[in-house]
């Protein structure tokens, strides 16, 4: 059985700043109501259901998250889906927001770095592990790196060091040499086992 997500399974995902006003703006947009009903017109971001306009759906997911929802944790590093700084999770699978159109993730459950901590701001054990292991330097790759590691640990709560190393091989970091990031993934792994 797939282990439960230690955060979102609790049914209390965090609301990011700025998202409320964005939802209102979408809700008031008259064009949203004229859409055909065949496909879902909504997107779930950090547990919050958002209604989308046609224009929204044509945007890149990264632009939508950053510009419309003010969720700036996902970073733009290369714009071609190579560096991984824009990684977010869709149904707990990592995807490159810079190379994904909003239309491609309609109806899916997205998690950004802003949705990983508890609603009261309490850090997720993986976030705490990144801090404790010294895995953070400039911090630009960190949100994508944390989410990639989170998705990996949900599937593999008992990883070896080499597996952890391979899990982040598609996320670039220029500061750390990766060693302390791998340390933090291994340190956080027991928390994923407990929730099973």
């Amino acid at each position: 059985m797939k282990p439960a997500d230690p955060n979102t399974a609790a049914g209390a995902p965090g609301f990011a700043r700025g998202s409320t006003s964005a939802v209102l703006a979408r809700g008031l947009n008259p064009r949203a109501s004229g859409e055909p009903k065949a496909r879902p017109l909504t997107l779930i971001v950090n547990g919050r259901r958002l209604r989308l306009t046609t224009r929204d759906r044509r945007k890149s997911l990264l632009t939508f998250l950053r510009e419309e929802l003010d969720l700036t944790g996902a970073k733009r590093g290369c714009g071609i889906g190579v560096c991984g700084a824009c990684t977010v999770l869709a149904d707990n699978r990592p995807l490159r927001a810079c190379r994904t159109f909003v239309a491609a993730v309609l109806g899916r459950n997205l998690t950004t770095i802003e949705g990983l901590a508890a609603p009261d701001g309490g850090l997720h054990p993986l976030q705490q592990a990144f801090i404790d292991a010294g895995a953070i330097q400039c911090g630009y790759c960190t949100p994508g790196m944390v989410l990639t590691a989170h998705a990996f640990l949900l599937k593999h709560p008992e990883p070896g060091r080499n597996e952890a190393r391979r899990a982040i091989s598609a996320n670039l970091c220029r500061c750390t040499g990766y060693q302390q990031i791998i340390d933090s993934i291994l340190a956080a792994a027991p928390h994923y086992r407990k929730k099973e």
Partner: protein, 748 residues
């Protein structure tokens, strides 16, 4: 594994791990406009006209800016003011910017940029530094009179005599490529004019004071009317100096001309195209060794491709000059290091700053010489390395600090099992993957040395309730500089680190303290913090010493309390309050001027740096016989850092430096074609991934440096400058083939 596993701490960790840290592009302002640069497809050309009419009429465009709109000076530079912030007379490289489009949205600005038309007359392209030096060659900067940017020499003894005394003479050429810093965050700037008439600049840069100068001169404003506000930055590695400052200057002009806030965020392709790189070097060496295995003479000629602008080339090549012979004693030396203008992308500061190139050469050359002299590389290094009291090739006597070259070297030999593994190395024999181990070592002058004025300031003020505000003239590049300063101050004042807040840095608050490069943050910033803390201690102790029954200088600061020798004590916060009640303020400016150095440029002799960091790294690898693919198996690094201030961050510098060094050794190279970059993003410029790296072992040596008030030296660059030659030596021990051109991977 590593020596200690205590929990790491840094002041910005929570914000960065939750996505709350707002980098420049994450910030929005009301009425924000978006700016983008405009390039043209010339490499060297005389500019005839920049036609912006069509772009100006494009949808959403508010303003198109060209060189004609610059109110101040269009020239900038830290050494020579040869950078044309907006191209005016010529195009000197493919990354020159001819105009800036300012529009309501970013996509409108990008669309309009395509409608700028540039007319120019192509000029002969100068792409080979040696050809650029031939008399009569076309000039990149006519007013400079020559394509030679600078020439450093080093002359010691008499090399003719040295070679005559030598039993073995070896000669070798080496080449290194253009290398990209590849910070994950591309350049960005956000500027607005405040009500008080000050242009406020946020941006991704590592030299706020130089940015302030560039912006002020470009806009024709006094320094006091430009304020650079510290903003989280996504990596620099030396690369967010000139280009980052220029991006800020253009954005500030857009804000000035439109009266609205303006943001300019670079795409990766623009960043790679325009930003300066690490210098490619062509190095030619000759070394003579006596029958006793001692180096008698070294001759070298090194030519660096400076690209279109001077930038920091004279400083980068100066460090190469001082360190061109590695950490070895040589009585007779004759060398020159030239930096040359070409129409390539310009080159400047990058982590290592002129040392990675010479280390790649000299650390292979000593092994080549050792072999010829019938000695092992280990024995040869033992005989020739600098030791306590040695005189360097620039005539500097190494004293006043622990010269720990031998200590770091022997530690790496022992921990890596070097000599056993060396005997097991394939040397091109066997049918499976070749296997080999190799090492390299260096000494590195700390901070700027004789490059320039080296001084740093810090301000400490204690509040009424005993909380403390700290700011220092160093910049948080991601390395954890702010956290190191907080930890040092906490220790000096004997208070918990949670009491101390590092203020959002501003160039308007702390005196110009230079650039956060040259691995100088901890030693220089730490020095300034120590001095400010000493002044604060005297002030606070002075207010309570009488009550405690002792003299102010006898008061001990620890555990959040002030304690007299007799045992009477008082809470730190209470002592601070007492001071305020006495109408005195616990406030101090600490200034740390680097100890004096001296330098004679005519012969390249002098006391180049006030202290040195000693380091050694080893790497174990395999080479696939069929594909030539190199796989790193293990790596070790030992560095004498003086003192570990923040251990986890220190280890992060070890690992990150080694990874970047491994990329340099294995596959990093900016591909060029006729002056145009072919590597413009991470798909065509490969940096190390997690799976390219082996497990790394960090060996931290701490011989406190008496010339550093905090005892700490530096690590950022030492960790970065040794991996490539260590890989090259391991490659040789594995395959029996000497490779003298970087990068080494990917070729059979």
């Amino acid at each position: 594994m590593d020596e200690m596993k205590e929990k790491a701490w840094r002041n910005d960790a929570v914000a960065k791990v939750t996505g709350r840290a707002r980098f420049t592009d994450d910030i929005k302002l009301l009425g924000l406009l978006h700016a983008v640069p405009v390039y043209c497809d010339f490499v060297h050309a005389r500019l005839v006209a920049v036609d912006t009419a069509a772009a100006a009429k494009s949808r959403g465009v508010v303003r198109v800016i060209t060189a004609r709109d610059v109110p101040g000076s269009n020239r900038c530079g830290q050494i020579l003011k040869d950078i044309h912030v907006l191209a005016d007379d010529k195009i000197r490289y493919h990354g020159d910017v001819v105009a800036v489009i300012v529009a309501e949205t970013r996509s409108q600005a990008i669309a309009a940029a395509k409608r700028v038309h540039v007319r120019a007359e192509p000029l002969p392209e100068i792409l080979d530094p040696e050809a650029a030096l031939v008399p009569g060659a076309a000039l990149v900067h006519e007013e400079h009179g020559t394509n030679l940017i600078h020439r450093h020499v080093i002359r010691r003894g008499d090399t003719a005599r040295g070679f005559a005394e030598s039993a073995h003479i070896v000669e070798q050429e080496f080449r290194t490529p253009f290398v990209e810093h590849a910070y994950l965050e591309p350049e960005a700037a956000l500027c607005h004019m405040r009500a008080d008439g000050v242009i406020e600049v946020r941006g991704s840069m590592q030299h706020p004071y130089s940015t302030r100068r560039f912006v002020a001169e470009f806009l024709g404003l006094p320094l006091a009317r430009v304020e650079i506000v510290g903003t989280p930055m996504g990596g620099g590695f030396g690369g967010k100096d000139d280009t980052a400052a220029i991006v800020c200057a253009r954005t500030a002009l857009a804000a000035l001309l439109t009266g609205r806030p303006v943001k300019m965020t670079y795409e990766r392709e623009w960043s790679m195209r325009e930003s300066y790189k690490r210098h490619p070097y062509h190095l030619r060496y000759r070394m003579g060794v006596g029958t006793d295995g001692l180096i008698r003479a070294i001759q070298c000629r090194i030519v660096a491709d400076g690209g279109a602008y001077c930038s920091t080339s004279p400083w980068v090549t100066w460090r190469s000059t001082v360190q061109c012979c590695g950490p070895y004693v040589a009585p007779h030396v004759d060398g020159e290091v030239l930096s040359v203008y070409t129409n390539h992308v310009f080159t400047g500061a990058m982590r290592g700053f002129g040392s990675p190139q010479v280390n790649f050469a000299i650390e292979q050359l000593v092994e080549i010489a050792a072999e010829k002299a019938g000695l092992s590389g280990v024995e040869f290094r033992r005989r020739n390395m600098v030791r306590q009291g040695s005189t360097t090739v620039t005539g500097q006597v190494l004293e006043g600090h622990a010269v720990s070259m031998s200590e770091v070297f022997e530690r790496v030999l022992a921990e890596s099992g070097y000599e056993t593994k060396l005997r097991r190395s394939s040397r091109g024999r066997g049918e499976d993957d070749y296997y080999g181990i190799g090492l390299a070592m260096s000494y590195r002058g700390v901070s700027l040395g004789a490059e320039g004025t080296d001084v740093c300031a810090a301000v400490v003020s204690v509040q009424f309730d005993g909380s403390v505000l700290l700011e220092a003239g160093i910049h948080e590049n991601g390395q954890g500089a702010e956290s190191a300063m907080i930890l040092l101050l906490a220790e000096e004042l004997g208070v918990d680190r949670s009491r101390i807040i590092y203020r959002r840095p501003s160039t308007s608050a702390v005196p110009d303290s230079g650039t956060t490069v040259a691995s100088r943050a901890t030693i220089m910033g730490g020095g300034a913090v120590s001095r400010a803390a000493a002044a604060i201690r005297l002030q606070v102790a002075g207010a309570v010493a009488a009550d405690l029954g002792c003299r102010p200088e006898e008061v001990r600061f620890a555990g959040g309390r002030l304690t007299a020798p007799g045992g009477r004590d008082i809470d730190f916060a209470e002592a601070a309050q007492r001071l305020y009640r006495d109408q005195k303020y616990p406030y101090a400016l600490g200034v740390f001027p680097a100890p004096r150095v001296d330098w004679d440029e005519s012969c390249g002799q002098g006391r180049a740096y006030f202290t040195w960091v000693y380091g050694c790294q080893a790497v174990e690898l395999s080479v696939n016989q069929r594909t030539g693919r190199i796989r790193l198996l293990n790596a070790w690094a030992a560095h004498d850092v003086g003192r570990a201030v923040n251990r986890a961050m220190l280890l992060g510098q070890f690992y990150g430096g080694m990874a970047m060094g491994a990329g340099y050794g294995l596959f990093e190279e900016v591909a060029m074609s006729g002056g145009r970059l072919r590597s413009l993003n991470y798909d065509t410029y490969r940096i190390p991934r997690s799976t390219d790296m082996p497990e790394m072992t960090a060996i931290v040596l701490e011989n406190r440096d008496p010339l550093s008030p905090s005892g700490a030296k530096s690590i950022g660059e030492p960790a970065n400058e040794l991996m490539a030659p260590a890989i090259a030596n391991a490659y040789f021990h594995a395959t029996g083939r000497r490779r003298c051109q970087l990068p080494l991977g990917g070729e059979k």
